[in-house]
């Protein structure tokens, strides 16, 4: 799985990332660096290849019909450097994805992946591929064209529209104790960063789905709790690369007559 762009962008080194908001520059440069040396990827024995053109770009997707899994992707056409990074990240997302998952969620993932989390989002409201900047627009139309091409041949996507990839194979292969130790070490590091001791934010439970449940001490202000919870969750996700969720203990109904 990888990326092939047959007509590379002109004068790569001198062109600035004019079509990308500054919040994406670092991510784009990182992806372009990592992408060097990758070659064509559509396997010759792929069962079916779908091709869709849009606005000077062409996408070719090889699909193993069994399970609709993407086996490879190629792009043709002249791109800016930023667009190339977007397409490169799309290919990375396609790894292990079905066609439906790719066309429906790929770009949303790419926006998040390329965005610098240390900077505020480039829009005040909800960030999406539609408003994330010019470099996302041609890829978006390309994906739209691919969806149309695929559906015109297939009628519909196969299987249920249910996708979830919370944990990697590597994480799932780890023993419970190892996972818990790793999480607890990271939670301790987070507490140190934000200046909380164990009594202020203690681990109540790490459940069978690796969801972390914490309890707060009385010294933590009510409106500091959401910030710490989201902060901890993001920290755990960044450090582990896994979609760990963080909660506090459930509150029971305190109405007098109504009780579960």
């Amino acid at each position: 799985m990888g990326l092939s762009i047959s007509a590379p962008s002109p004068a790569d080194d001198v062109i600035a990332l004019e079509d990308a908001f500054p919040e994406f520059h670092q991510g784009i440069e990182r992806v372009l660096r990592d992408a060097r040396g990758q070659g064509a990827v559509v396997p010759e024995n792929a069962v079916t290849v779908f091709e869709a053109p849009s606005d000077g770009l062409v996408i070719k997707v090889a699909v193993q019909i069994e399970g609709e899994l993407i086996a490879g992707i190629e792009y043709d056409g002249e791109t800016t450097r930023a667009e190339r990074a977007v397409l490169q990240q799309l290919s990375a997302f396609a790894n292990g994805a079905t066609v439906r998952e790719f066309v429906e969620h790929g770009l949303t993932f790419v926006v998040e992946r390329l965005r610098d989390p240390a900077m505020p989002r480039p829009v005040d409201g909800i960030l999406s591929p539609r408003n994330a900047g010019p470099c996302f627009q041609r890829p978006r139309l390309l994906i739209k064209a691919l969806r149309a091409a695929y559906l015109s041949q297939h009628g519909d996507f196969a299987g249920d529209n249910i996708f979830d990839r919370p944990y990697s194979e590597r994480w799932l292969a780890m023993g419970n104790t190892e996972k818990q130790n790793r999480l607890e070490t990271l939670i301790q590091a987070f507490r140190e960063q934000v200046g909380l001791d164990e009594a202020a934010m203690a681990v109540f439970e790490i459940d069978q789905y690796d969801r972390v449940v914490v309890i707060f001490g009385p010294e933590v202000g009510v409106w500091d709790k959401p910030t710490h919870l989201l902060g901890l969750e993001r920290w755990l996700r960044r450090q582990t690369g896994e979609r760990i969720e963080v909660f506090v203990e459930i509150a029971k109904d305190s109405n007098r007559i109504r009780r579960l």
Binding site: V103, E112, G125, I126, L127, K144, N161, A251, R258
Partner: protein, 373 residues
């Protein structure tokens, strides 16, 4: 799936979000949009103990919404561009001492106001005050017979008679004063209440509200209420039979799309919350009712008993949470309970965001209750 229907009178099983294209466009441009509809309660308390009540799962740190807090909240809503406020959510708003004043104040500000209630305390005097200020009033009533009403709704049998009388009064006051308000009855259906579908449909025909709607019961992601979604299939015949009791001024409607979904969602991101916000009767502002419980504290944004709503709405925290729900950090299929209030709005926006369709050209006639999407 746009969720739009041909029914331009009263849409009970669909969404009216497509009629708010200016707000969708602003959202698409990344602007901070005010919710079109806010569903809230004036209290977490309730005088009933319904067997199916989702509010049991929504406990959070309680505060009291007093007159100052609710008036300022309504003022802020009008100022930032909210269009409709429904008092439904996680408590019985009619037992709050600020209920009547809140409805009238919201209406005087130009907001569309609505109420979902068990109807027990809404006597004639109160009804005469609030009905002229309401777009709709909906009574939760999940049985058509006294005994079963008492069992399912956790109250004494004679309460049923009082609620029926109150519904009669509503229909009468509406007719006498030629009011615009829509009077509805709502059955939250669990498969084990199947025996009450027809008695309730017949009761409605006798009491003469404008409609009876029959909807699924929501559950949390761990299935705490134990709703048997597969069991709804066996009720389809009764539900069709109930719908057949509709006449020219009484409509029985089943929320088929949610019942047939068997509790599943077709989308992963949640885009609906900024368009349709929910607030708890504790004053808590959270994206939606399914996230009210303390367990979901990370999604809690503010409280109108402590801070002005316009400031909560303008805060980075509000938009941080809304962005979280719209990002790959979140998966509604795994992290939410079954079919929330925002479900149809979510479906529409999800399809649009994925480029499944463009914004539709709208029919000339607008549906009723447009500000309750």
């Amino acid at each position: 799936m746009t969720g739009m229907t041909d029914h331009t009178d009263l849409i009970l099983d669909g969404t009216k979000i497509a009629w708010h294209q200016d707000r969708i466009s602003a959202w698409e441009r990344g602007e901070r949009i005010a919710p079109i509809t806010i569903d809230m309660s004036l209290t977490r308390a309730c005088n009933y103990a319904c067997h199916f009540c989702y509010a049991m799962l929504q406990e959070n740190e309680r505060q009291v919404i007093n007159k100052k807090a609710i008036f300022e909240f309504l003022d802020d809503c009008a100022e930032i561009g909210v269009k409709g406020i429904s008092f439904v959510s996680d408590g019985e708003s009619t037992i709050s001492p600020v209920f009547v004043d809140a409805v009238k104040h919201g209406h005087s500000l130009g907001l569309s106001m609505a109420v979902g209630t068990n109807g027990f305390v809404l006597n004639r005097r109160k009804l005469e005050e609030v009905l002229p200020a309401l777009t709709y009033l909906r009574i939760n009533i999940s049985a058509g017979e006294r005994e079963r009403y008492a069992e399912i709704m956790g109250v004494k049998e004679h309460w049923f008679d009082r609620v029926c009388q109150n519904i009669r009064d509503m229909a009468e006051i509406k007719a006498q004063n030629n009011l615009d308000v829509t009077i509805g009855m709502q059955m939250v259906l669990m498969p084990e209440y199947a025996d009450q579908i027809m008695p309730l449909a017949r009761l409605g025909k006798e009491l003469r509200p404008d409609y009876l709607v029959i909807k699924h019961c929501s559950d949390d992601e761990d299935g705490t209420l134990g709703v048997d979604y597969a069991g709804y299939k066996d009720l389809y015949d009764s539900l069709h039979e109930a719908e057949a009791l509709s006449d020219e001024s009484y409509s029985v409607q089943v929320k088929w799309s949610k019942i047939a979904a068997e509790g599943t969602r077709s989308y992963q991101r949640c885009y609906g919350a900024p368009f349709m916000l929910q607030m708890s009767g504790s004053g808590l502002v959270a994206p939606c009712g399914m996230l009210f419980n303390e367990r979901y504290k990370k999604f809690h944004i503010g409280n109108i008993c402590e801070e002005r709503f316009r400031d909560i709405f303008a805060s980075d925290r509000y938009w941080e949470i809304m962005n979280y729900l719209a990002s790959p950090e979140f998966n509604a299929q795994k992290m939410c309970g079954s079919l929330c209030l925002q479900h149809k709005v979510n479906e529409f926006l999800d399809g649009y965001q994925k480029d499944e369709y463009d914004l539709p050209t709208l029919p000339a006639a607008q549906p009723m209750h447009l500000n309750f999407i």
